[in-house]
């Protein structure tokens, strides 16, 4: 396994190299000047600005100098936030996105797996039977539970976050005054954005769980387990879910990378000082260093979490061979 990890990390180097190169070159090649701001800049000042930000010479020279810096861990200074280095901006904003993202990630897993599992069980038992889950406790499963949950999951996937989030703000923050609408710094300010951020992921996980659990529940070994006289919760938790969880592990890798690096919609709407907004803003500001830096962070996360998901696969499922 160590060999695999080392090999995958080595593979990541050319990938990151290509991604950062493409980003830098594309931003520099796009029309628009990073320093322009509505008033024309005198040529003597323009020369200085380019010099300060190492943007002199041909695009190829700029690229070589930039890559030289990146290799040494210096992501250069931002052209938008003068006097701030990209390293500093990322160091300040990435942890914020990660805190918010991990709360949202946790919520997505919790709601996704629970609701997906619930939907699958109620699909199995379409009538208004009561299902025994925990020894002496029985859950009433509404007859249309499956379709109901799936409808919500579909809504969760298809309603864009820029519609959902403002609706949640109007309802929960402005009308009912339950939660703050904006800001960062106190624990109650994390709830609303984390909920909104988690919805599409939770919905996807719910659908995955349901589909996978329904397939597994049809398999022979489940019938055997039931025939053996195991309680329904033992069948579900000890046998079915452990197999059904595999596709969710596969999904959770890239999902973690996406959710931990923030979302521009959530961050601008809720005023969260995270890294997600730089993803879009730095590109429209034509800030080549900030854009490349953010892309570098995001691709590293993507590679890292996919690797983690693969390792998890290996740990959980013996059929997976790490070759």
């Amino acid at each position: 396994m160590t060999a695999l990890i080392i090999r995958r990390l080595l593979q990541a180097i050319p990938v990151l190299f290509i991604v950062v190169s493409l980003t830098f070159l594309l931003v520099r090649a796009a029309p628009g000047n990073p320093f322009s701001n509505g008033k024309s800049i005198r040529p003597e000042i323009m020369v200085q600005l380019n010099q300060q930000h190492d943007l002199e010479g041909t695009i190829w020279d700029q690229y070589l100098r930039y890559m030289g810096k990146v290799v040494r861990g210096n992501l250069n200074i931002s052209t938008q936030y003068l006097n701030r280095s990209v390293n500093e901006i990322i160091a300040q904003s990435l942890p914020v996105s990660m805190v918010l993202g991990s709360v949202a990630y946790f919520l997505a897993l919790l709601f996704g797996i629970t609701l997906g599992g619930w939907a699958a069980i109620s699909h199995e038992r379409p009538n208004d039977q009561r299902i025994k889950l925990f020894a002496n406790f029985s859950w009433p499963i509404p007859a249309p539970g499956d379709r109901f949950i799936m409808l919500f999951a579909l809504l969760g996937i298809s309603i864009p976050i820029f519609v959902l989030a403002p609706l949640a703000v109007i309802l929960l923050a402005l009308n009912l005054n339950l939660l703050p609408a904006y800001g960062w710094g106190s624990p109650d300010q994390i709830i609303l954005p984390a909920l909104c951020l988690s919805v599409p992921f939770a919905a996807t996980i719910a659908r995955l769980t349901r589909g996978s659990l329904l397939e597994v529940l049809k398999l022979d070994f489940i019938r055997t387990a039931r025939a053996k006289g195991l309680s329904e919760d033992a069948v579900l938790f000890r046998h079915a879910l452990k197999v059904a969880i595999l596709p969710i592990i596969g999904y959770s890798g890239p999902a973690a990378a996406g959710i931990l690096t923030g979302s521009i919609v959530i961050e601008t709407l809720f005023g969260i000082p995270g890294i997600g907004q730089f993803f879009v803003n730095s590109a429209s500001n034509r800030d080549p260093f900030m854009t490349s830096g953010v892309v570098l962070v995001f691709s590293s996360f993507l590679i890292l979490f996919n690797l983690l998901a693969d390792i998890l696969y290996f740990v959980v499922d013996r059929r997976v061979k790490l070759e």
């Binding site: 796009a30 029309p31 628009g32 000047n33 322009s36 701001n37 008033k39 024309s40 800049i41 005198r42 003597e44 000042i45 200085q48 010099q51 200074i77 936030y81 003068l82 006097n83 701030r84 300040q92 904003s93 942890p95 914020v96 990660m98 805190v99 991990s102 946790f106 897993l109 703000v169 923050a173 402005l174 005054n177 703050p180 609408a181 904006y182 800001g183 960062w184 710094g185 022979d220 070994f221 055997t224 053996k228 938790f237 000890r238 046998h239 879910l241 452990k242 197999v243 969880i245 592990i249 601008t268 005023g271 000082p273 995270g274 907004q277 429209s284 500001n285 959980v316 499922d317 013996r318």
Partner: protein, 554 residues
């Protein structure tokens, strides 16, 4: 990882190949996510509890910098002017009042100003503010290595431009001298009537040079910055907040002790904050959702006042058909501006027939071209396009932000309605791309705007000097250039204003390289019983040191 027991269970259940104790899969997964959560909470100490402040305000986007020498934007300027103070400053009404300088005199020719600094003025670290601080800070602004985009504000000084462009390297030749600690003598190249406006502007504010030298680019960080204005920088978290605290060494008491500045680039979020009473003041027009203006403009917290900024359309006079003055005039005469301000912008913007906004002291603008569709149709027919027939395909360029897209659509519809031209196509571009296209004069028509740097017609009219960096129309007129030069050398204010009036007449009545559309209004939201010292003013410049909370003693 596997145990004999679980393998037995697996075999009993009829499935093999799972290594992990089966009942632990889900709990382990969730526990993992939880662990991740706890680790992030623990390690990244970004969880600072919200700082309390006496006044919280929304100031627009995250500032690009807080170095008064390099910033260019209005929102950065507002914060910098709370931190720094020039020789002069403004009161709540926007009038020029003494700042660091207690008094000043100037020679009758308007070329030499002598400023006398207040005795006992100090930086926020206790160091005295001296005339040399001004001298050295101005040197820093002019020095090409600082890359100050607003360095031209000091080109009014004798040899200022030569030093700024690197033609001379001896700063002692530049027209500013400090004979002693408390006196600053400034020699101007031309009698600049608005020079006292410039000295209140952030570019001419002093900075604490020992700090700048010590920390280099990092000197604007909290804990390092030393300032001389009413406030000092207490905390600054990117995209989170900026905290200002009253500077104990400022020469007069500051009524509001702590101000928290929220950088928000989303107007809806900003309004939500105000609506849920989490902010006391929104002072950035862009931070008020334009769709809401109509609904909230009668509320007691809504305030709007015209200020020195104009929205206008640029012609590219080098391209057909706009090389023909008759076509330009026809389009200008046929633009129903009333319709645009009533239907689109809707915040009470006055219609503009001139480039210079009304309200510049002592200036009477020309009449400009007033809406007259009949005359417009006549001119268009004369130019060879009766009822818009045969009018070539042209593009109307606009930036994709604010209400520009709706304004562009409306303009297109209005010209079709009144002139029958249906060959105007819209071309929206992202802000930075738009600026680039406009700079290259690669457009037919372009929706533009200009915010005056100071309260004088000059800041608008000098844009259109031949081949000027901000001209961007391809238009030029030697007579106009000549008049601009004459006006700069005229010390008599009445004569000077007359020249500027005649210049504007050329611009908006005779040659028409631009069509003024409307004057901007500065909008702000606050409850008057919760905030005082905020008054509508023509320069839309509200100094935070003037703010007070009614009923609360400083």
């Amino acid at each position: 990882m596997s145990s004999a027991g679980s393998e037995q269970a697996d075999r009993a259940a009829g499935v093999s190949g799972l290594r992990f104790p089966p009942t632990l899969v889900l709990p382990a997964f969730i526990a993992g996510a939880l662990l991740l959560l706890v680790v992030f909470f623990y390690f990244f100490g970004s969880w600072t509890l919200s700082e309390k402040a006496d006044l919280t305000l929304c100031n627009g986007d995250e500032p690009q910098s807080l170095d008064p020498a390099v910033i260019t934007g209005q929102l950065e300027g507002r914060i910098c002017l709370a931190l720094f103070e020039g020789l002069t400053t403004r009161n709540a009404k926007g009038d020029i009042i003494p700042g660091m300088a207690e008094s000043w005199t100037h020679t009758p020719d308007g070329l030499t100003y002598t400023f006398h600094l207040r005795p006992g003025i100090k930086w926020s670290n206790g160091d005295p503010v001296t005339a040399y601080d001004f001298l050295n800070s101005w040197e820093r602004v002019l020095n090409p290595t600082t890359a100050s985009e607003y360095a031209y504000q000091l080109y009014y000084l004798v040899n200022g431009e030569a030093y700024g462009t690197g033609k001379i390297t001896d700063f002692s030749q530049v027209g500013v001298k400090a004979p002693d600690d408390h006196t600053l003598v400034v020699t101007l190249a031309h009698p600049t009537a608005y020079f006292l406006e410039l000295t209140s502007f952030q570019t001419l504010c002093p900075v604490h040079l020992p700090t700048v030298k010590k920390y280099g680019d990092d000197w604007t960080k909290p804990g390092r910055m030393v300032s001389n204005g009413p406030y000092m920088l207490k905390a600054w978290r990117l995209n989170d907040y900026i905290l200002l605290e009253a500077n104990p060494y400022y020469w007069r008491p500051v009524p509001v002790h702590r101000i928290k500045v929220l950088p928000t680039n989303n107007a809806t979020a900003c309004f939500n904050l105000f609506y849920s009473k989490k902010t006391d003041l929104i002072l950035d027009t862009r931070s008020i959702p334009s769709a809401l203006v109509q609904d909230i403009k009668n509320q007691p917290y809504f305030h709007a006042n015209p200020f020195g900024a104009t929205s206008f359309i640029r012609f590219n006079v080098k391209r057909k058909p706009f090389d023909d003055i008759r076509v330009r005039k026809a389009l200008a005469l046929a633009l129903d501006k009333q319709d645009i301000v009533e239907k689109i912008t809707r915040a009470g913007e006055p219609v503009a027939n001139t480039l210079v906004p009304p309200g510049s002291a002592g200036y009477t603008p020309p009449q400009g071209l007033v809406y007259n569709p009949a005359e417009a149709r006549r001119l268009l027919a004369e130019a060879g396009y009766p009822n818009g027939q045969g009018f070539p395909d042209v593009e109307l360029l606009y930036p994709k932000r604010g209400t520009s897209e709706q304004v562009a659509t409306e303009i297109q519809a209005l010209w079709q309605r009144d002139l029958g031209i249906n060959t105007i196509h819209l071309r929206g571009q992202e802000w930075k791309v738009f600026l680039n296209t406009q700079d290259l004069i690669d457009f037919d028509l372009s929706i533009s705007g200009w915010i005056g740097d100071y309260n004088d017609p000059q800041t608008f009219l000098d844009m259109f000097v031949t081949d000027g960096g901000n001209n961007q129309t391809g238009w030029g007129d030697p007579q106009y250039d000549q008049m601009l030069q004459t006006s700069e050398n005229t010390a008599d204010p009445v004569k000077r204003m007359q020249i500027l009036h005649d210049m504007e007449k050329i611009l908006v009545e005779d040659q028409v390289p631009i069509i003024p559309v409307y004057f901007w209004v500065g909008m702000s939201l606050y409850y008057p019983d919760k905030l005082g010292g905020f008054e509508p003013n023509f320069v839309d410049d509200h100094r935070w040191g003037e703010f007070y909370i009614p009923g609360k003693k400083p």
